[in-house]
């Protein structure tokens, strides 16, 4: 179903974060963003920006959800920051209630989304972050669903 792709280069963690802010402002409640990329590629930095774009108070530090698996924050839409790093078995996805969250009304950002079974989420945006050098990253957006294509067009002019 993947049918539309665009890429962008960011040259610092701040630029990656700023792109997150931009997407946070544009994104509709209910959207799921699947994030893939190595340790240290900037997935959490992106979500920190996304949270600011979703108008989550600066009083909340957006920290890694690896240990807690799902962190929730109140904002323009509720943000569910999910990390599947510790998930070993698809059955555990049910145990953490991920199905309810991705079908809910919040914005869900899922780190280590490559661990999800195929077709676990229907319409969503996939963001793949690849390290270019110490500070630069290539961010590639893939749309799954028509509305997501419109969103990508707004993100990457």
């Amino acid at each position: 179903m993947k049918n539309f792709t665009k890429s962008i280069i960011t040259n610092s963690p701040e630029e990656t974060q700023n792109l997150g802010i931009k997407i946070g402002k544009l994104v509709e409640c209910g959207t799921v963003i699947a994030l893939t990329g190595d340790l240290g590629s900037g997935k959490t930095a992106f979500v920190q920006g996304l949270a600011r774009g979703l108008e989550i108070s600066e009083d909340y530090y957006i920290t890694s959800p690896t240990f807690t698996i799902i962190n929730e924050y109140p904002g323009r839409c509720r943000l569910f920051h999910v990390d599947l790093y510790r998930v070993n078995d698809p059955e555990e996805l049910e145990n953490i209630g991920l199905i309810d969250i991705v079908n809910g009304i919040g914005v869900t950002a899922i780190e280590w989304a490559d661990l999800l079974p195929d077709n676990f989420i229907q319409n969503h945006l996939t963001l793949r972050i690849v390290r270019v050098d110490d500070t630069s990253r290539e961010l590639s957006f893939f749309s799954y669903g028509h509305k997501i294509e419109e969103l990508i067009n707004k993100i990457v002019l």
């Binding site: 190595d38 340790l39 240290g40 959490t44 108070s57 009083d59 909340y60 530090y61 920290t63 890694s64 690896t66 240990f67 807690t68 698996i69 799902i70 962190n71 929730e72 924050y73 790093y85 510790r86 998930v87 070993n88 078995d89 555990e92 049910e94 145990n95 953490i96 209630g97 110490d134």
Partner: protein, 335 residues
């Protein structure tokens, strides 16, 4: 006063009976009683909804071990947050129903305040005010502790928790996950000065922490050095040294800023031998006393929730039946 404490904020389902916020009559943690699990098998690491299977047997075990009759309980305390909502709800709802059925008061406790109160469950405890460093897989924060239930957050991690960095570095080195304990034992055989990893001191918010850059730096080292497998103990030691340096400097700097001559180290990473030794050493040179709970009270447990709950109840802070759990706290610590 006898309090039943229930904890289910993350992986562990735990319950304990504690007398007067001080004396542990029983403390049961699900991962330690697998053999008693009537559903058989190992309780999966990602417990969340699986907490449902563990909660009743764990509470029952805690009551039995304590030697009391449930009718002797004066109140119940359960973790209200922060944590995984699905997991928190199990312990929290169980506590509500249990208290309602027994006709006794109950209270929702902040998990982080529970950890801080774990330092009062040992033979020696600090007097107020003191500085607490909470360091675990999910948290790394500094508090100025004014009483059992009054805390000022001085700083916290902006990205990864220290315990998480340990576990992720272990996985990078092929030592499995979670592998924080493996890292510390390997580090004992390595040279901490051989590989210098970065330390994030964050000059603009000097009591905050950041371990994400350190994690990335270890990852880069492994990618660049093909022969890294020949000196894994040195990598482990260099990494641990960086974490311990930052934690020790910041906790003592907080003590200095607040004019405190006592600090407490709590949470899962407080079990790390090197961290315990380093902070005690550095602190003694400055005339600061260090309090660290016993190893079994460093990880998540019900006794610390009962201890904090005792002080809530004593102050008349009770929870109502419509009280809900929460995932995150903002900088103004939530009550």
């Amino acid at each position: 006063m006898l309090i039943l404490g229930i904890e289910s904020s993350c992986d562990e389902t735990a319950a304990a009976v504690v007398k007067d916020g001080k004396t542990i009559l029983s403390s049961v943690v699900s991962s330690q009683i697998e053999v008693h699990n009537p559903y058989g098998g190992v309780v999966p690491e990602l417990a969340s909804r699986k907490h449902i299977e563990a909660i009743a047997p764990v509470v029952k075990e805690a009551i039995t071990e304590s030697g009391i009759n449930i009718n002797q309980l004066d109140a119940i305390a359960a973790t209200r947050g922060p944590g995984l909502i699905g997991s928190l709800l199990v312990g929290f709802s169980f506590a509500k129903a249990y208290a309602f059925a027994l006709g006794i008061p109950w209270t929702g406790v902040n998990h982080l305040e529970g950890h801080i109160n774990s330092v009062f469950l040992g033979p020696e405890s600090p007097s107020f005010p003191f500085i607490a460093l909470l360091v675990s897989g999910g948290h790394t924060s500094l508090y100025y502790v004014k009483s059992h239930i009054e805390f000022q957050l001085l700083g916290q991690t902006r990205d990864d928790a220290a315990g998480e960095a340990f576990d992720k570095v272990a996985k990078m080195l092929g030592l499995g996950y979670p592998g924080g304990i493996v890292i510390s034992s390997l580090a004992e055989k390595g040279d901490p000065e051989k590989i210098k990893f970065p330390r994030a001191y964050l000059p603009s918010t000097p009591l905050d922490f950041s371990f994400s850059g350190l994690k990335t730096s270890v990852n880069r080292y492994i990618q660049i050095n093909e022969n890294y497998k020949d000196h894994v103990p040195d990598i482990a030691a260099g990494f641990q040294e960086s974490v311990v340096d930052v934690l020790s400097k910041k906790v003592l700097s907080a003590a200095n800023q607040k004019g405190c001559d006592q600090v407490a180290i709590v949470g899962g990473v407080a079990a790390n031998k090197k961290l315990r030794e380093r902070i005690k050493n550095d602190a003694s040179r400055k005339g600061i006393s260090v309090y660290i709970p016993s190893i079994e009270l460093c990880g998540d447990n019900g006794a610390m929730i009962a201890a904090a709950g005792y002080h809530y109840i004593k102050k008349g802070i009770f929870s109502e039946l419509d009280c809900d759990v929460y995932s995150r706290v903002n900088k103004k610590i939530q009550k």
